[in-house]
């Protein structure tokens, strides 16, 4: 079944004619995702790869092609408006891959998306994949495998690493969601944990966190309060120096709560098994699922 996306997903790609947009549209279609439309203002009326109609607006993609999900590959300066446009057009799930969106833009985007009843994943995220069914974003389809483990992560390539290690060990995934590395994001750990708890195909969940903010602590409390399924975790940035931003805009330690140590303690306090290395997640998941 997976979470957030699946057989009902009808995708519109915002920025379909761009370099990243076109490349990943082909990858998503190859994976089996139903891409029903693309949007690039000024290029409406064309057909992408003889298969996907391109529109000038998301509104047309919804009314004429029935899109219910959007993925955004537009440059950072246009990303906030692309989210506003998708929410305005009635898109239910908006996945923003774009990196480098000004945080001030996201401040205005988040309440708007909520008012419209839409869900935003990202920005600055790799998107999500339900193995064997549907992928929205840039997660490499060849490393996933169908199975019982849900993965939620703030990272991109570290998520691939974890998926790769689980798959190599024979542990498949029910869904993998990259929620993004920015300080302000649309969907957090708790949203994903709740969805995994409700998903009958998910038997256990791996949470991949990193330094900065307090989302991991909030997630840990949620797990012990609300979840029946076993949850394991990994925190990146145990060797990160305080006060420096480690690539992701959200990954900075300022104050003790943002440290890996504090997050690991919160996980342990709430009964979440913590892997010291990504490779240790395999053993932890194996034990917890018994």
């Amino acid at each position: 079944m997976g979470i957030f996306i699946g057989d009902d997903t009808k995708l519109v790609v915002q920025g379909i004619t761009g370099r990243d947009g076109s490349f990943h549209t082909r990858q998503m279609m190859e994976y089996g995702t139903r891409v029903v439309a693309g949007v690039t203002p000024g290029k409406g009326g064309r057909t992408f790869d003889d298969a996907v109609p391109v529109f000038d607006t998301v509104e047309e993609a919804v009314s004429e092609a029935g899109a219910n999900t959007s993925v955004i590959y537009v440059p950072a300066r246009f990303a906030a408006d692309a989210v506003f446009e998708a929410a305005d057009a009635g898109i239910a799930l908006i996945v923003c891959i774009t990196e480098g969106v000004p945080v001030g833009d996201m401040l205005r985007v988040l309440p708007y998306v909520r008012e419209k009843g839409a869900r935003l994943i990202g920005p600055n995220c790799p998107g999500l994949i339900v193995p064997g069914r549907c992928k929205v974003g840039i997660l490499p389809g060849q490393i996933v495998r169908e199975g019982p483990v849900g993965i939620v992560s703030r990272s991109g390539t570290l998520t691939y690493e974890v998926i790769f290690q689980l798959t190599r060990a024979g542990l498949g995934q029910s869904a993998c969601v990259g929620i993004g590395g920015d300080p302000l994001i649309g969907t957090d750990f708790v949203d994903c944990l709740a969805a995994f708890e409700a998903d009958p195909e998910t038997e256990a969940v791996a949470v991949i966190g990193e330094i900065g903010g307090t989302d991991e602590q909030v997630a840990a409390a949620y797990v012990s309060r609300e979840m029946s399924k076993p949850v394991v975790g990994f925190i990146a940035g145990q060797t990160a120096p305080p006060g420096r931003r480690m690539g992701h805009a959200g990954a900075i330690i300022s104050g003790s709560e943002g440290t890996a140590e504090e997050k690991i303690r919160a996980f342990e306090r709430h009964g979440i098994g913590v892997a010291r290395r990504p490779a240790d997640l395999v053993g932890l998941l194996g034990r917890r699922r018994q």
Binding site: G104, P111, P140, S155, G156, E210, G247
Partner: protein
């Protein structure tokens, strides 16, 4: 109480106090006049022009400059020269002081704190005030949290006038001072919003014996993702006040932070880069840097990354950890081959490559005599071992 600034300081672009003062003044915040000096003579001349006592303050991107001796009171122009002489050229947290700010010393009746930061958890900008000014807000939060008052700003409407007024009255019993403070707070919020800031601070905001409220210090951090639409703010970046290697990294579109260890790391993706550093430590080594080459497939970036790593004299083992997604393994391999044909690495290199175009990448490397691994743990362990055997070995013994 939690550290009120803990989740907000999330960008690397700092501007100097004198630059923040200029921005504040442009937005109508009362900031006493001051001059920037780069020599002791200029500082003395400025003090002479102001007449009377002045404060000489180091202009660096580092906190704790007062404790480091970077702020001095001078009663005369001659004293101002001596103070500037002492401060210019001094190092504060590893950064050389190249400029001082000279400002008339103010008569202070009371000091307060005003700050605006992004609160990640509430997904809103938050204005904080405290009647305990002149000290770090973190310290006040720890010792007397009840002195701090916070309001969250609805991003759709901005700071309401009644919110600013309420904060002014929290700070001052005197209605005149409260009104002035409310006006300063409202202007500070406008400055913050229109400058792409993630932090704006006045510490201290003072009341003088005449009852005037003024901003004596000014601090701002800028979201560098917002700079594309703020060329005036972007021009304020002082690259001389930053680590030169990190400046060059930014120009090459790499994310690089120098650390103290000896294993030079080159990784694609920030989360994986951090996890790689952690794994270096796990296997008994110390990372020399954080380096994320990002998602692009550009061999030039790999060359620039290798240049940065090899210039760090502490590095005695280089580790590549690449999980190809958008990044293609063959592009990274080409970059490694190109870089090593141009320069002598002088230290062993360990390469882990997997993902997009892995086979092509491995073949390109193999043709040049480089071995590539698939397993991250094995690669990290190998790189740490190579670093250790080089530090541990006698000079001239091949290091095993």
């Amino acid at each position: 109480m939690r550290d009120p600034k803990r989740e907000c300081d999330d960008d690397p672009m700092n501007i100097h106090e004198y630059q923040a003062r200029e921005i504040f003044a442009r937005h109508g915040i009362p900031v006493p006049e001051a001059e920037v000096a780069v020599t002791a003579e200029e500082a003395a001349a400025a003090a002479d022009r102001f007449g009377g006592a002045v404060v000489v303050k180091a202009q660096v991107h580092a906190g704790g400059r007062g404790k480091a001796g970077g702020v001095k009171l001078a009663a005369t122009a001659a004293e101002a020269r001596d103070s500037a002489e002492a401060i210019l050229g001094m190092e504060i947290k590893g950064i050389e002081v190249r400029r001082v700010l000279v400002a008339p010393a103010e008569d202070i009746a009371s000091e307060a704190y005003v700050g605006i930061v992004l609160d990640r958890a509430r997904q809103a900008d938050t204005v904080m005030v405290s009647s305990e000014g002149g000290v770090d807000i973190e310290e006040v939060a720890a010792t007397m949290p009840e002195a701090i008052r916070k309001v969250a700003v609805d991003p759709r409407y901005g700071l309401f006038a009644h919110q600013a007024a309420g904060l002014g009255h929290h700070l001052y019993d005197d209605p005149g001072a409260a009104r002035q403070a409310a006006s300063i707070i409202a202007k500070l919020y406008k400055t913050y919003r229109t400058s792409g800031a993630t932090l704006a601070e006045i510490n201290p905001m003072i009341v003088n014996p005449a009852g005037e409220v003024k901003a004596i210090d000014a601090k701002m951090n800028i979201d560098d993702n917002a700079l594309f639409r703020l060329p005036g703010v972007a021009a304020l970046r002082d690259t001389e006040a930053e680590n030169p290697a990190e400046v060059r990294a930014r120009e090459a579109e790499l994310s690089y932070i120098q650390l103290d260890g000896n294993v030079g790391c080159c990784v694609n993706g920030a989360g994986l880069a951090m996890a790689t550093m952690d794994l270096v430590k796990y296997y008994g080594g110390e990372p020399a840097n954080f380096l994320d080459i990002g998602g692009s497939s550009n061999p030039d970036k790999v060359v620039a990354a290798l240049e940065l790593i090899t210039e760090d004299p502490n590095v005695n083992s280089i580790l590549f950890n690449i999980f190809g997604g958008i990044t293609r393994c063959d592009d990274v391999a080409n970059g490694i081959v190109e870089a090593t044909s141009r320069m002598e690495l002088g230290v062993p290199i360990t390469i882990r490559l997997t993902g997009t175009n892995e086979e092509e990448g491995v073949a390109i490397l193999a043709a040049q005599g480089f071995e590539a691994m698939v397993d991250m743990d094995r690669a990290v362990e190998t790189a740490v071992h190579r670093a250790g055997s080089r530090t541990g070995g006698e000079p001239g013994d091949g290091g095993g």
